[in-house]
Amino acid sequence: MTLARLTRGNAIGWAVPILLIPLWELLARTGQIAPSVLPAPSAVLEAGWRLMLTGQLPENIWVSSLRAFTGFAIGGGIGFALGLANGLSALSQRLTDTTLQMIRNIPHLALIPLVILWFGIDEEAKLFLVALGVFFPIYINTLHGIRTVDPHLIEMGRIYGMSPITLFWRVILPGALPSIFVGLRYALGIMWLTLIVAETISASSGLGYMAMQAREFLLVDVVVLAIIIYALLGKMADAIARLLERLSLQWHPAFQTH
């Protein structure tokens, strides 16, 4: 895939959402869609502007993003560390993998009632859920990546006298990177999903809370605004991950510009 084709693909990818907006506006203006079901994009934009001026919107985006990325850093960090440990050491894997696989089969959102009992509706509850949600994709893909590094290359590294640390940095980690990126992108999706659910059910600030408050007062435009912001934040996180992927996997035939 060439870079030119990639960027062209991105431009085409934006065409559909951008074309949908005038259509939506038209249908809303002509009364085909009742404002109580789906307000016009201009109304949503207006609501956004209003909340921007009161400072509520930036405040809530900030609170939600902070939660999302803190939870991501905690869960992703632990997942990455355990993935490395279990990929590199058979002992560590024998010790922890069965336990982790059991926990993995519990849908993490099923823990919400328990988490509320433990932490109330404070920050810890949201961070815990996000961390748990992102842990598994990162853990599993890091482990998988390390396990599937070409054993021929590891043997080569040993023959050429690489120390275990050199071997890790020059052979094992770069070899595992494509798989780690798959985990990263998957985890980013789960991060937003978990946070939205957690904030919708129990929160006193954040985008999910803003949407729930708006629902109580029948402010459909604000509800729609919150949903669109979720979509944009999710897309942004994914775009950053893809950029990092492209930068660090230049050697990979799938990312080469030739």
Partner: protein
């Protein structure tokens, strides 16, 4: 990959402390030589078993410094195991392998495989530098890697990713990497096996030219008798884990492919290999 295979490959102790004693061999620096010379290789009573299966039975072999030895045999005869033992990738069940002066470091022996085994995420020149890990100075590493690349005719490809090179070019990079530290013993495990016929001949000429310059001791494992005779000073046949033929190839170099002497020798060896079945 099977879990137990994993356990042997990346056991924690193994990973962090190296395979029993192997790391101590890393300490001695590469002996710098002007006009590098090979090393004597003396193998005595070498045997190797994997579980119940004995792959090599008491191999005795003396290879004088600078000799180009070809080891041929049918698949599964133990020739690759012999090479892996030489490279220190396996430990012998019995017997000894000794290199000339006895204090040669690990980088005195290099091995080249059928696959180039280049790091796909490192540029060509960085791949060659992997062969120079014992050289501390970064600038010197780069300089020597570039010189080696020039030697194999790939200087202008130094900044490329290995994935865009052809099979023959990748194998030349692997050769440059193996030779960068000026090894005294070069073990070649069918390094040209995966190349097309024309690239093969080109690579054979390159290998011969570099060997004539550097005069390392070369052990080439191959199942191609023609290739063995084109390159080697001496040819050893391994059958069922034992040496059954030890033949000098006293032809002058450069050898002309398809010459009657080569054809006659090849016929002889093939007859021996198939135990007379190919005679009419």
């Amino acid at each position: 990959m099977h879990a137990s295979e994993y356990a042997t490959r990346l056991d924690p102790l193994d990973f962090f402390f190296g395979r029993g004693g192997a790391d101590e061999d890393l300490a001695p620096p590469v002996v710098e030589r002007t006009g590098s010379t090979g090393t004597d290789l003396v193998i005595k009573g070498l045997a190797k078993s994997f579980g119940q299966k004995q792959v090599l039975h008491g191999i005795d072999l003396r290879v004088p410094a600078g000799q180009f030895l070809a080891v041929i045999g049918k698949s599964g005869c133990g020739k690759s195991t012999l090479l892996r033992l030489l490279a220190g990738l396996e430990t012998p069940t019995a017997g000894t392998i000794a290199l000339g002066d006895g204090n040669a470091g690990r980088s005195a022996t290099r091995i080249m495989f059928q696959e180039p085994r280049l790091l796909p995420w490192a540029r060509v020149v960085e791949n060659v530098e992997v062969g120079l890990l014992d050289t501390d100075s970064r600038a010197e590493r780069r300089e020597r890697a570039l010189a080696m690349l020039a030697e194999v005719g790939l200087e202008d490809r130094q900044g490329e990713w290995p994935s865009i090179l052809s099979g023959g070019q990748r194998q030349r990079v692997a050769l440059a990497r193996a030779l960068a530290s000026r090894p005294q013993l070069m073990a070649l495990d069918e390094p040209l096996g995966a190349l097309d016929a024309l690239t093969r001949i080109e690579m054979q000429n390159l290998l011969e030219r570099i060997w004539l310059q550097q005069r390392f001791t070369a052990i080439l494992v191959t199942h191609d008798v023609g290739e063995a005779l084109a390159l080697a000073d001496r040819l050893v046949l391994i059958e069922e884990g034992a040496i059954t033929l030890d033949l000098a190839v006293p032809l002058p170099r450069p050898r002309r492919r398809g010459s009657p002497e080569l054809a006659r020798l090849e016929g002889e060896v093939l007859d021996r290999l198939f135990d007379g079945q190919s005679k009419h």
